[in-house]
């Protein structure tokens, strides 16, 4: 590969490359050295792929979804029955959410069992822990948005569980619900958390996570005597 002949690039690509440094970006991100690894090492990339799919389908769901108690349920019914491929977009988002939690979890187990969190990758691990929490937060807030019976009572129960924390439990429950009970205010704040606050945090953390992976490189699989 060292003597791989670069095919002659078209002029416009040359022009862009000179200004943007595309070749360098490509070499650093995609052409980087990777130890001989196995399929378990794909879980991070798989999670990233599902995360991007969640962002795309989520943006499209926003075209029709309405975060208010009198329209939330009906607008989702409309997405499912009235819009072309609405069932598909929502289906991908729905199943993608569960898949992402699953992938994040197995990814974490892989890193844990292979000891890949050790020096110098402690920060990658810590950021990963926050990403796991954010993913669970996305699942929790997204579950309320359909505003059906199951969503409503799942949130009642979920916020009650948060309320069992000693001393500050009641405060946490009130903050989550936006008041005493699960109401329109709960729906709108869960919506805001689900579509902007957590995604913004997650995109930032994912960027740092990936930067660290590129900077430090992925770890070798542990050897027999480790």
């Amino acid at each position: 590969m060292s003597k791989h002949q670069q095919p002659h690039k078209p002029a416009w690509l040359e022009w862009l490359d000179e200004r943007l440094g595309l070749t360098t970006i490509y070499k650093v991100t995609l052409d980087r050295k990777v130890p001989k690894v196995n399929w378990w090492y794909c879980l991070g990339s798989a999670t990233l792929f599902v995360f991007i799919m969640q962002i795309i389908t989520g943006m499209f769901l926003l075209v029709y979804y309405t975060p208010s108690p009198d329209h939330a349920y009906d607008s989702i019914q409309y997405i499912m029955t009235g819009v072309p491929y609405g069932w598909l977009i929502r289906g991908i988002h729905h199943w993608g959410a569960s898949l992402m939690v699953l992938l994040v979890f197995i990814h974490m187990l892989r890193v844990f069992y292979m000891g890949a969190y050790r020096y110098p990758r402690e920060l990658t691990w810590v950021i990963g822990v926050f990403l796991l929490l954010a993913t669970l937060g996305m699942g929790f807030t997204g579950y309320l948005l359909p505003w059906n019976q199951r969503a409503f009572f799942a949130t009642v129960v979920g916020t009650n569980i948060a309320g069992t924390v000693p001393y500050i439990g009641d405060f946490i429950r009130r903050v989550l619900r936006g008041g005493e009970t699960v109401s329109a205010l709960t729906l709108s704040r869960f919506f805001a958390i689900h579509v902007w606050i957590l995604p913004a945090i997650m995109v930032t953390l994912v960027a740092i996570h990936i930067y660290l992976i590129i900077r430090i490189g992925i770890s070798n699989p542990p050897t027999k005597d480790e």
Partner: protein, 167 residues
Amino acid sequence: MSGEHQSSSEISRLDFVNIVLAFTGGIMGIILGIPLVGYFLGPALKKERGEAWIPAGPVKKYPKDQPTLFSFTRTQQHGWEKTAESYGVYIIRKSDDKVEALSNICTHLGCRVRWHADVGEYICPCHNAHFTKDGKVISGPAPRPLDRFQTKIDKGMLYIHFIEGKG
């Protein structure tokens, strides 16, 4: 990896992987891309043209040669929202079997015109457009006469032909 000698016509392992990746990625992109476009455009391209013959009661109840306002309401479903819109029609009975129906929507910017019997004209309250009894423009900014509805009389009952998105 590919340290072996290759003639330039032969495809390298890396190029092969890249081509396969681009190909499968392209197919996946299309499979997801087409539904996304359809999803976004679907409701926008849906034709909402419905039509109906609206019953306007017995012809005899409309006085001769004097525009009389008849109102009706149509409900429409837009996504998850139902809206009721009311329409006004001026009915002018010329004779027992000849009736004209004029929309009360001003052709300028869509305000509702009113019949002023004292001057014998329709006047739009927004920009002072004046129309004759038959809907022709007398003065003001209106670009064309008032819209007409098709009418029919069946067993002494008057019907107005309503086309959605028009009038």
